[in-house]
């Protein structure tokens, strides 16, 4: 986008083409904020998208673009667990082992996966495909036990489903999150999204499924509503749609489907 001249210091060894491309991306990130330093977290995701981890070059790059010292950038990068300090696998497989998921079976899932893949926490399989992690609560407790692959939800897992999932990832087969995009993007692709660059996949997957809809299903069955529910008066609803219940059960609504409940 921007083609402004840029100065670069000696600390970052990206080649010119890479540096220029990332500098353009960084300029777009900086433009989102009133103050440039706010761009640092997304920029760390950006350099992680480039190299699968936050390298010395990545730190130097962020420091140069934002007028910070490498020490200041390192201090931030090492504070947050999503920033990797060594090259990451193509897929991060994160098993939730915070209390609720752990007790519901997350500990066993982690142990069996670890044995199956022959790696421990924060280690990567020899083929470079999978980095295994214990992750903290990922806000899907009603779907416990939960496994995340590159920060997409795989709900209601057990040791067998988790091992099959890992096998598929290693074979290069597409896997489909329970709630997420229709396939799992690579770690580097996902890191670029987290830097704020959309990959055009927001419309994939369901809006809600399984446990998310447990209460709503019950309310629909019993016709339970908030008071004065049926009075959307002054809204520009499409003709004939004003007071009918929302359409459910379509391709991207699992309101009536229960495949993810099991």
């Amino acid at each position: 986008m921007t083609t402004e001249a840029y100065s670069r210091g000696p600390a970052c060894s990206y080649d010119d083409e890479t540096y220029r491309r990332l500098a353009d991306d960084a300029a777009q990130i900086v433009a989102r904020y009133p103050e440039p330093r706010s761009a640092l977290l997304p920029m760390l995701h950006l350099v992680q998208a480039e190299e699968s981890y936050v390298s010395r070059d990545g730190i130097a790059f962020c420091a140069e673009r934002l007028g910070l010292t490498p020490a200041q950038v390192s201090a931030v990068a090492t504070f947050y667990t999503q920033y990797k300090r060594h090259p990451n696998g193509r897929y991060t497989v994160g098993v939730c082992t915070n209390t609720l998921c752990a007790v519901m079976g997350g500990d066993t899932i982690f142990d069996e996966l670890s044995e199956h893949l022959d790696v421990g926490h924060d280690q990567t399989t020899e083929d470079g495909k999978i980095t295994l992690e214990r992750v903290e609560c990922n806000a899907a407790c009603d779907f416990a036990p939960v496994v995340m692959v590159n920060w997409e939800f795989f709900d209601n897992q057990n040791p067998e489903t988790a091992k099959r999932l890992a096998d598929s990832l290693r074979l290069g087969e597409d896997v489909t999150p329970t709630r997420g995009a229709s396939t799992v993007a690579t770690f580097q692709e996902v890191s670029r999204v987290l830097a704020g660059f959309p990959d055009g996949r927001a419309d994939e997957g369901v809006g809600a499924s399984g446990a998310t809809l447990a209460g709503l299903r019950l309310a629909r069955e019993n016709d339970w509503r908030a008071p004065e529910e049926a009075a959307p008066s002054d809204v520009d609803a499409a003709p004939g749609e004003g007071d009918v219940p929302p359409r459910t059960g379509g391709a991207q609504s699992s309101a009536e489907s229960k495949e993810s409940d099991k």
């Binding site: 920060w151 809006g207 929302p246």
Partner: protein, 443 residues
Amino acid sequence: MTSPLTPVLSDTWDADQSWTLETYRAHGGYGALAKALDLEPAGIIQTVKDSGLRGRGGAGFPTGMKWGFLPPDDGGPRYLVVNADESEPGTCKDIPLMMAAPHSLIEGVAITSYAIGCTHAFIYVRGEVVHVYRRLLNAVQEAYDAGLLGKNALGEGVDLDVTVHAGAGAYICGEETALLDSLEGRRGQPRLKPPFPAVAGLYARPTVVNNVESIASVPAIVERGADWFTSMGTEKSAGFGLFSLSGHVVRPGQYEAPLGITLRELLDMAGGVRPGHELKFWTPGGSSTPLFTAEHLDVPLDYESVGAAGSMLGTRALQIFDDSVCVVRAVARWTEFYAHESCGKCTPCREGTFWLEQVLARIENGTGVPEDLDVLLDVCENILGRAFCALGDGATSPITSSVQLFREEYEAHITGGGCPFDRAAAELFERKRPAVAGSEVEG
């Protein structure tokens, strides 16, 4: 007579492509924004004050009052920052809300920004939920394209920009001042208060920080009025909220109900505790809220009643553990979490959680000594009220409450040389051990 469940926020979640602007508008979405823009900002703040809406992120501070704390306009910027860093263990309501209906949050952001005089709002979402981030980015873009955000969005000459910012994995960033430091590109460490964010928040400018569910509740309040909102819930805990049931319950999930509902009522709706088992302990509002037991099944889940019963409503994260679960194991794991997530800024929390983790580990693995319980309670006492922020206080809640409720279980670990529970009994699947070896596939 109010229904047992009152879907408002969750009402569109089962619609096809519920996350799109088109679907949201087909269900009346952005009607509240249009209405709001015809009102005086002060009137909107008054409506939200009158509604009694209290912060849905855990602390329960009145939302309208928080807005009212902003100093008079001095011509400089003021900010709205939405706390979408949902990570309190057990809490799982904001993430599904943003996944299914991001526009309800964006509309709330627009209305709130108009009310408080903000022209650049931020949504700080945790980085570990990439599809939710996609949906938010997409919803913001749709809103820009439709003229609901951007140039003149809030009236002639009044723009509104919204930036969705992904965090990078740090529980502490749910603390509002740590969140602001993180949003400024720093380590997420809490700030000394005062000054509060209302006075010196983002970039030291007046800032309102509100939870996702709080802000998403604003459109319905503006649309249907404060009286409608107060017709649900209790006198001091008005309205509805998402109750998140998880764990050993037949139908876990999101149940949107008036505040003041009880766990007994919720469990009835959710099919009860896992068949063949009894309720042992539960959290009313996430892992930082003192544990409850079956004795508390009839405590109304509102701020006052839960407080009077010795815990906190928190985020209505109802984690259900049945009689197969070892409370020491559960608490030890939460404590590992707090030790891992302690930001290191203050000594009581940094050192205290470290030692709590060590002592609990040796109790759990059978090498504890009888004095350990006193040590635990003493360390907790030295954290509670002495830590820099609420993380430290929260770390002590499960420990002190569980020792009080289940002291003999802790003692059994110490005297019996380990944990008397079978982990497999608590799991939600049948174990198929021994695992078949030799089936690994090299990619």
